[in-house]
């Protein structure tokens, strides 16, 4: 790979960040990375200037319009009229009577639903998990990683817990504790929240959770149980990195999968397709190498 190609690839990476940079939505580390690049790259600096100028031009043009005095008066009139109707004695009594009746109906209905659940229905956690379970059609293997992410990080709120690297190493065990420094290094801009082993439907997972504000990402690893990514997998197959990765998305989640001889690995998140792909292209090769060494 020539130096020029490397620079162009890096520019492409930085330009993905520029929209978020303009809106001040980047993590501090990523902001510094962008600023360092802009110092030495005129093309990217010009691109940033164009984006900023366009934002200002639009803001100035739209800001010139305001609501009319007539609209303000109409709204104030609406509010006073509605308030007068609500506070009139007759309406007041009627509305309170309705509110009491509605509360009674809700109480009786709620009690009977709860009663039937506690006697024979599924537990609330199970029901919640079932509701949140998202599946990608024609991407059966990718659903393995997706299911663990949703069950563990989302439903059981592990995304909100924060462990120290030492605690994560202890929970992962001696075989997998080496993943902690690898993931910390490769997932720039994300904070490592959790590293542990978890279990879903008789399958054991090694699970690391990363966060950047509301962006939640899981690295999920599990031993193969006879599965392998088929060559004709309907989900996209990419070979941009040194290993083959497979990707698909649901409405809310993006999944990238990869495999070694004995393991399946997944990068699952609520990021955009391009962001998750970028994160996976950084994480997957290093994790792949780690797992191959483990197999040796």
């Amino acid at each position: 790979m020539s130096v020029l190609e490397f620079e162009q690839g890096y520019c492409k990476r930085i330009r993905v960040y520029l929209d978020s940079y303009v809106n001040n939505e980047l993590m501090v580390e990523t902001t510094h990375e962008v600023l360092r690049h802009l110092d030495g790259c005129e093309a990217c600096a010009a691109e940033l200037e164009a984006k900023t100028r366009m934002k200002n031009v639009l803001q100035n043009a739209v800001m010139r319009n305001g609501a009319s005095a007539e609209l303000r008066e109409r709204i104030k009139h609406d509010v006073r009229r509605d308030a007068a109707a609500w506070w009139s004695p007759r309406t007041h009594v009627m509305q309170w009577a309705l509110a009491v009746a509605a509360a009674l109906v809700l109480f009786v209905g709620g009690w009977s639903v709860l009663h039937s659940f506690s006697s024979r229905g599924p537990q609330p956690r199970q029901a919640e998990a079932a509701l949140l379970r998202a599946e990608i059609p024609n991407a059966e293997i990718l659903n393995i990683g997706l299911a663990d992410h949703i069950n563990c990080a989302v439903v059981h709120d592990q995304q909100d817990k924060r462990l120290t690297p030492e605690q994560m190493a202890e929970r992962l065990g001696s075989d997998y504790e080496g993943l902690v420094p690898i993931v910390r290094e490769k997932a720039a801009g994300f904070e490592m929240m959790m590293g542990h082993r978890c279990r879903l439907e008789n399958r054991e997972f090694v699970h690391l959770i990363l966060r950047n504000r509301d962006r939640v990402c899981s690295l999920v690893i599990t031993k193969k149980n006879g599965e392998s990514f088929p060559a004709d997998q309907t989900a996209d197959i990419e070979q941009a990195t040194s290993i083959s990765t497979y990707r698909a998305r649901t409405r809310d989640y993006e999944v990238v999968g990869f495999e070694t001889r004995d393991y399946l690995g997944f990068v699952v998140s609520n990021l955009s397709t391009s962001e998750n792909r970028m994160l996976a292209s950084s994480l997957a090769p290093a994790v792949h190498d780690f797992l191959v060494k483990l197999e040796a």
Binding site: M54, K55, V62, S272
Partner: protein
């Protein structure tokens, strides 16, 4: 009783009315029609008043009002969409491949005309991010869409706006090669 009622109205007006210009601007850009925008804002304020007991003082009243506004807009859009078509993502992909420069001098009316040409789902996000300066999280909550969708729509919306603006710039004789310099 009258005193309590007036105090509640005062609380509502002091919290909500300062944001009327921002709400009207957004509604006007979304609908492209002043009269329709006024109706949407009026409906928004009435709904906000009716649910003001659920608003927690000290929280972001502007974001709360925008969420109601876009809920009202969404209800209206269901009617609009039955009579208007909208472009598919595939068609849009073809129009955003080239990133033209942004000219220095553009008339406000041309900027607004260019902005109004962008498909609605992108216009909403660009408006909330670039004009109203909401965070990605607030936009996701306002429009009830995932955070990743906010980011992708913002990026694509900006590209589309840039393409449209380039068309206006070329109309003034500012061609692609000198538009970036803006007369240097």
């Amino acid at each position: 009783m009258k005193f309590r009622r007036n105090a509640k109205i005062d609380d509502f007006e002091s919290a909500a009315m300062p944001h009327i210009d921002a709400l009207y601007r957004a509604a006007a850009r979304v609908t492209g029609d002043r009269s329709e925008a006024e109706d949407l804002v009026q409906e928004t304020y009435l709904q906000a008043w009716k649910s003001f007991h659920r608003f927690q003082p000290g929280t972001n009243c502007r974001a709360w009002l925008f969420k109601i506004l876009f809920h009202v807009i969404q209800q209206h859009r269901r009617k609009w969409y039955s009579s208007r078509g909208h472009e598919t993502d595939e068609l849009l992909e073809q129009t955003v491949a080239y990133q033209p420069p942004v000219a220095q001098h553009l008339k406000d009316e041309d900027v607004l005309a260019a902005f109004d040409k962008i498909p609605q789902q992108y216009r909403d996000v660009v408006l909330l991010a670039d004009v109203e300066a909401f965070s990605y999280k607030e936009i996701a909550e306002t429009l009830s869409i995932p955070l990743g969708t906010v980011m992708s729509r913002l990026s694509r919306g900006r590209k589309l706006l840039r393409s449209e603006l380039a068309g206006f710039a070329e109309g003034y004789g500012i061609n692609k090669s000198n538009a970036n310099g803006g007369g240097k």
